[in-house]
């Protein structure tokens, strides 16, 4: 009985969490409710693969206490300045393709954006 209550409680929290997340997403994205965000935590990009439609603006935010950059593999398509803690960088992907990118300070950090 006690266990069931706890499960229900967690489910309720999860629903609340989802509601809050979607609210937060809408609130921060301004005019574009679908603007996807990639986070940097513990020297990793999350998600490691993001799929979006052409014309979508993608925003990266660095949650680490060490600066990171967001640079396309060819180093020319897009290139952020050094993002300090909680700083953001955005890029609008206009053409379809697979865009591999990395942090030029910590090149072991790689991820990709697939644009349809």
């Amino acid at each position: 009985m006690q266990r069931n209550t706890r499960v229900l409680g967690m489910a309720a929290l999860a629903v609340l969490g989802l509601a809050l997340a979607s609210f937060a997403g809408r609130a921060s994205a301004g005019e574009n409710p679908a603007a996807p965000q990639i986070t940097i935590d513990n020297f990793s990009f999350t998600p490691t693969t993001l799929t979006v439609a052409a014309g979508t603006q993608v925003t990266w935010v660095n949650h680490d206490d060490i600066p990171h950059t967001v640079v396309s593999e060819d180093k020319t398509t897009f290139k952020s300045r050094a993002l300090d803690t909680d700083e953001k960088f955005s890029f609008t992907f206009s053409k379809p393709g697979t865009y591999t990118y990395f942090c030029s300070i910590h090149p072991k950090m790689t991820a990709k954006v697939i644009v349809h």
Binding site: N42, S44, P67, V71, I105, P107
Partner: protein
């Protein structure tokens, strides 16, 4: 010292009759002095202040220099909101050494974000160091934004390519390498073919008995590739140094001391003066290690190197800022 702190190493080859015996201390907080003498390398515990009995007296008439690293000027997060103070403490430590170092080597990440004010600050504080010269190689943080243009203008006068150079002091040949330029997605540190060609030519004319000191930011041996702690093409560089009887490689980047001997090459990494980083794989990421304020300075430090002419003697001393 517990027996399992010792690494035994023994070989004969190349006609120089070189035998190595490396003993490395559990380091944190106390510092270790490594003395290489006639091919035998031994480390001793350095007592905390006042514990003179355990300290090794260093003979006079040699070349003495100090390595500092990873000052990350501009960093202001836990566990060190004041990297100016700890950098100044490192300089004070150097100024308190019994022998003034001939020069200081800074093995990179001078700045945190390659901002002019950060470089200014380091230069300003280094003016109070009791030494005549400072040599720099860049870290990846010094190349943020402009691929090192500003760094080279300040610290790389007369250097080649991305900022590499060499010089001679009292019979020792010093080589400063750059392994933070043109880093590729998914890769480690990189020297690049142009620099490797230069290195081959630079050491070609030297006698095999010339002691070499090679310094660069990212380790030139593979410490932990998962965290990018290594250099993709360092094996090629080391191949050019193979014939030399005494090679010392000094690096930074990993914010902790580590030492390894391979053939005639002694690899050593120095502490940061700004913040410690975790042991390889001991945390989810190599981000700054958050330690209690009273513990911070035991995990930061400077490295003191002595070379005794004609005796193939090189002593490496790490001491914490505590």
């Amino acid at each position: 010292m517990a027996p399992n702190d010792e690494i035994l190493y023994d070989h004969h080859h190349d006609g120089i009759d070189r035998r190595g015996f490396l003993r490395c201390m559990a380091w944190a907080g106390t510092g270790a002095l490594c003395v290489l003498n006639g091919g035998v390398l031994t480390s001793y515990a350095l007592g905390r202040s006042g514990d003179k009995d355990k300290e090794v007296k260093i003979p006079k008439g040699e070349l003495a220099f100090v390595q500092i690293s990873d000052s990350h000027m501009g960093f202001n997060k836990p566990a060190n909101p004041d990297v100016v103070a700890t950098f100044q403490a490192a300089i004070d430590k150097i100024n308190a050494l019994p022998i003034a170092p001939e020069f200081i080597l800074h093995t990179g990440d001078v700045s945190h974000l390659a901002k002019p004010a950060e470089f200014d600050n380091v230069e300003q504080i280094l003016k109070s160091a009791r030494t005549s010269e400072v040599f720099y190689v860049p870290g990846e943080h010094d190349f943020v934004g402009d691929e090192g243009q500003q760094f080279r203008e300040r610290f790389g006068k007369g250097a080649q390519g991305a900022g590499w150079y060499s010089f001679d002091k009292k019979g020792v040949h010093f080589v400063g390498l750059v392994n933070v330029a043109n880093l590729k997605a998914g890769g480690l540190g990189s020297l690049g073919s142009e620099q490797l060609e230069w290195l081959e030519k630079d050491v070609k004319h030297l006698k095999s008995s010339t002691p070499l000191v090679v310094f660069a930011h990212i380790p030139l041996w593979t410490v932990y590739p998962e965290w990018g702690w290594g250099t993709d093409d360092s094996a090629q560089a080391l191949a050019y140094l193979k014939r030399f009887g005494s090679v010392t490689v000094l690096n930074g980047h990993i914010h902790q001391t580590m030492q390894k001997v391979e053939g005639n090459v002694t690899f050593h990494t120095a502490c940061s003066t700004a913040f410690p980083q975790p042991k390889p794989g001991a945390a989810p990421s190599p981000g700054p290690m958050k330690v209690p304020a009273e513990q911070l300075r035991t995990l930061l430090g400077v490295t003191d190197v002595h070379y005794k002419q004609g005796e193939h003697a090189l002593a490496i001393t790490d001491s914490s800022l505590a």
